[in-house]
């Protein structure tokens, strides 16, 4: 058992929980959060893949990929949340 093994399984579990949430949840905001959980799970796998037992240094290439992924994810989140706000406004207006 090592840190990499523990967090690798954690990352897989988080990815699966996020996948389940994205499939089952009906609330838009919660579904976006579930997809974010998926992305964190994916990030976990890359960080674990880069990890080496302590005396050795970690592989910087997957780290750069995860940082890229985080920035892409905030862009996707911002667009998804803007769509949710727009959708809400449209639904709210039709009620009047």
């Amino acid at each position: 058992m090592s840190s990499g093994m523990i967090f690798g399984l954690t990352g897989l579990a988080i990815f699966t929980i996020g996948l389940f949430g994205a499939l089952v949840m009906v609330e838009p905001l919660r579904r976006v959060l579930a997809l974010k959980l998926c992305s964190v799970g994916g990030g976990f796998m890359l960080v674990v893949a880069a990890w080496r037992a302590p005396p050795e240094v970690a592989d910087p290439v997957p780290h750069a990929l995860v940082i890229t992924g985080i920035v892409v994810m905030i862009s996707a989140t911002a667009v998804a949340l803007a769509l949710i706000r727009r959708l809400h406004t449209l639904e709210h207006d039709s009620d009047d």
Partner: protein
């Protein structure tokens, strides 16, 4: 399991899984977002344990802090909507649960069968780091060895802000809650400190964990504080400046790549003698672009010439 740090890792792993489940099952949507923020900070802690401090910084600042602020803003906007519109049937839930369990088992078997000791690309990075112009391997990968990825990442941010401005065109925002004098006082105290932290993160990225994205996120927090405390209100006249901010990073980044290519080299193949200067220039402008774009993503709607209430009347 004698090593106390391994026990810590196992507890942190369990806490992360429990928080991920809690995010999905908690009823109150405000609690959901707060739990997600806690989850993100715990993730950053786990990534520090996996010796990835750069990624942990980016996750804490962008993936958790800014994303949390964005979600709280959205929740404020949609708070009138019912929390759970239509419940999903139990059969669908169990079918998906079974499906996801199979996905987990399959991935876990694949993961356990994979060696964690593969050499990876670390040796190649270590060999070429002297020619890259910076001493920190992650910055070298981001700004030199795989600079094209980073350029595209900034393009993705630009695409996001264009999409958000188009989606939100003409819609009325929920009126922002008025923040009290204490909050303004806090903003006045905190702003200079955050500016210093953001610039430091950018500068230190050359030889230690940090860099354009973490620094840009810290500077975007300045924008958020200014917007939230009402110290800055976006005016239609500021649109050209904002647009310049959005494209500045891409423009300088791409021009440097083309300039290098025109000298008989490949794009992004900086001459080693000037690599540090070029990387710092790119990082500086990209940081400004990231900060402006992230703050604009938080603000959402483009500042419009005509007040929204008049166009809707």
């Amino acid at each position: 399991m004698a090593d106390p740090l391994l026990i810590f890792d196992a507890l942190l792993g369990v806490a992360l899984i429990a928080l991920a489940i809690a995010v999905l099952v908690v009823r109150d949507r405000f609690a959901m977002i707060v739990l997600f923020i806690i989850f993100g900070l715990m993730t950053a802690l786990a990534w520090v344990r996996l010796s990835a401090p750069d990624v942990a910084l980016a996750e804490a600042a962008i993936g958790t802090g800014l994303a949390g602020a964005l979600m709280l803003k959205t929740l404020h906007h949609i708070r009138a909507a019912p929390a759970a519109p239509v419940p999903v049937s139990v059969g669908v839930v169990f079918a998906n649960m079974g499906f996801c369990a199979m996905v987990f088992v399959g991935l876990a078997i694949a993961f356990m069968a994979t060696s964690l000791e593969a050499p990876g690309l670390a040796p190649q990075v270590a060999q070429n780091i002297d020619a890259s112009g910076v001493a920190h391997p992650v910055t070298a990968v981001l700004l030199n060895f795989r600079a094209y990825d980073t350029l595209m990442e900034v393009v993705v941010l630009l695409a996001a802000i264009i999409a958000v401005w188009m989606i939100e065109r003409g819609i009325e925002q929920a009126p922002a809650r008025h923040l009290g004098e204490i909050y303004r006082g806090f903003a006045r105290l905190a702003l200079p400190a955050i500016v210093v932290i953001g610039t430091y993160l950018l500068w230190v990225g050359a030889y230690a964990p940090g860099g354009a994205f973490q620094g840009g996120a810290a500077l975007a927090a300045v924008g958020l504080l200014l917007l939230l405390s009402g110290l800055y209100r976006p005016q239609p006249a500021h649109r050209p400046i904002a647009r310049l901010g959005f494209v500045l990073g891409i423009a300088v980044f791409a021009s440097v790549a083309l300039l290098v290519a025109s000298g008989g080299r490949l794009p992004f193949e900086y001459p080693p003698a000037h690599a540090k200067t070029l990387i710092l220039l790119i990082e500086g402008v990209v940081t400004i672009s990231i900060a402006v774009t992230l703050a604009a993503l938080f603000h959402g709607r483009e500042p419009e010439a005509i007040p929204v209430s008049e166009t809707r009347a």
